[in-house]
């Protein structure tokens, strides 16, 4: 706004000076119109250019704000997903302790979906690319497969205590995810 007013004032001063220094022979209505028109056009273009620059800066600030807000929303969403995954993990453990294999299997599929989602979460990239987590995911996959096959072929026994132990280790690692996300200040 200040820049616009300054340019306008400069324009007015420019017009006055131009007209003031005119030769007497040049002091005609068409010449006045030409000078006023030219200076007004220059002032107008300058004001438009300055406004465009200001808008550009504003749009950059707005897009940064949108990005930050989106990151914050994603962070909150991830935190809620992790809490949900820990809860589902506990439910599976409970089902296994009570030998409710079919229910445990169903919840295990839900948990697997959530774990795959974490793999694509950029905020958790450092933790999901860790060797320990990769091993936990593999163990989880092997256990999920064992539970599936136990339902089809009861001859192939699974030690549920070992599966629960693996799930507990996974739950501990998921808690690390939660702490990591909470520690990120956006």
């Amino acid at each position: 706004m200040k820049k616009t007013i300054s340019i306008s004032i400069i324009g007015v001063v420019g017009i006055i000076l131009c007209i003031y220094f005119f030769e007497d022979s040049d002091k005609t209505l068409p010449n006045y119109a030409t000078v006023i028109g030219t200076i007004c056009s220059i002032v107008g273009l300058s004001i438009a250019y300055i406004n465009i620059l200001a808008l550009k800066e504003e749009s950059i600030i707005i897009s940064k704000q949108i990005h930050l807000t989106l990151e914050k929303v994603n962070q909150l969403n991830s935190l809620s997903e992790i809490s949900k995954a820990i809860k589902v993990n506990q439910e599976i453990q409970e089902f296994l302790r009570n030998e409710k294999i079919e229910l445990a299997r169903l919840r295990t599929l839900d948990l697997k979906y959530m774990l795959l989602h974490f793999n694509n979460d950029l905020l958790l990239n450092e933790l999901t690319s860790d060797e320990e987590y990769k091993k936990l995911i593999l163990d989880f996959g092997i256990d999920l497969n064992s539970l599936n096959e136990t339902l089809i072929n009861s001859k192939r026994k699974v030690d549920f205590t070992k599966v629960v132990k693996n799930l507990e280790e996974l739950s501990t690692y998921l808690t690390k995810f939660e702490l990591k996300l909470k520690s990120i200040k956006i």
Binding site: L116, I137, L138, G141, I142, F160
Partner: protein, 126 residues
């Protein structure tokens, strides 16, 4: 029938294990062993089905999905190679060779071996 590339993979795993360069772990099944690799894992399990011994070999990707599985029953052509893999994995997991070697070392040593166990309810001699 196990395809040629899988057969070669099993041979490579057996060779690596026999060279003491593969560390096997145990899964939640009693007789199933797992080997973690950079891009996934393999497992081998044995069980008895209708009185017939069965062995399997499974391949998992890095997301824990089982991407391939081969089962052989005693008498099948593939049983021998899968059985060899399972035995090699089992021997590595339980460190059979190292244990036998240590037993030999201990027995060849001049100092006495074994410990006398005193029962808790043995009356004191005084």
């Amino acid at each position: 029938m196990i395809p040629n590339n899988i057969s070669k993979l099993i041979d490579a795993i057996i060779n690596k294990t026999e060279a003491k360069k593969a560390i096997w772990g145990k899964t939640s099944r009693n007789e199933e062993f797992k080997l973690f690799l950079e891009k996934g894992a393999v497992t081998t399990d044995t069980w008895v089905e209708n009185g017939i011994e069965a062995i399997d070999f499974a391949i998992y990707n890095s997301y824990g999905d089982k991407i391939d599985n081969f089962v052989a029953y005693k008498g099948d052509d593939d049983f021998d190679i899968l059985s060899r893999l399972h035995n090699t994995a089992k021997r590595e997991f339980f460190k059979v060779d190292e244990t036998i070697e240590n037993l030999f070392k201990e027995l060849n040593d001049p100092k006495s071996v074994g410990k006398r166990q005193i029962e808790d309810d043995t009356p004191l001699p005084f």
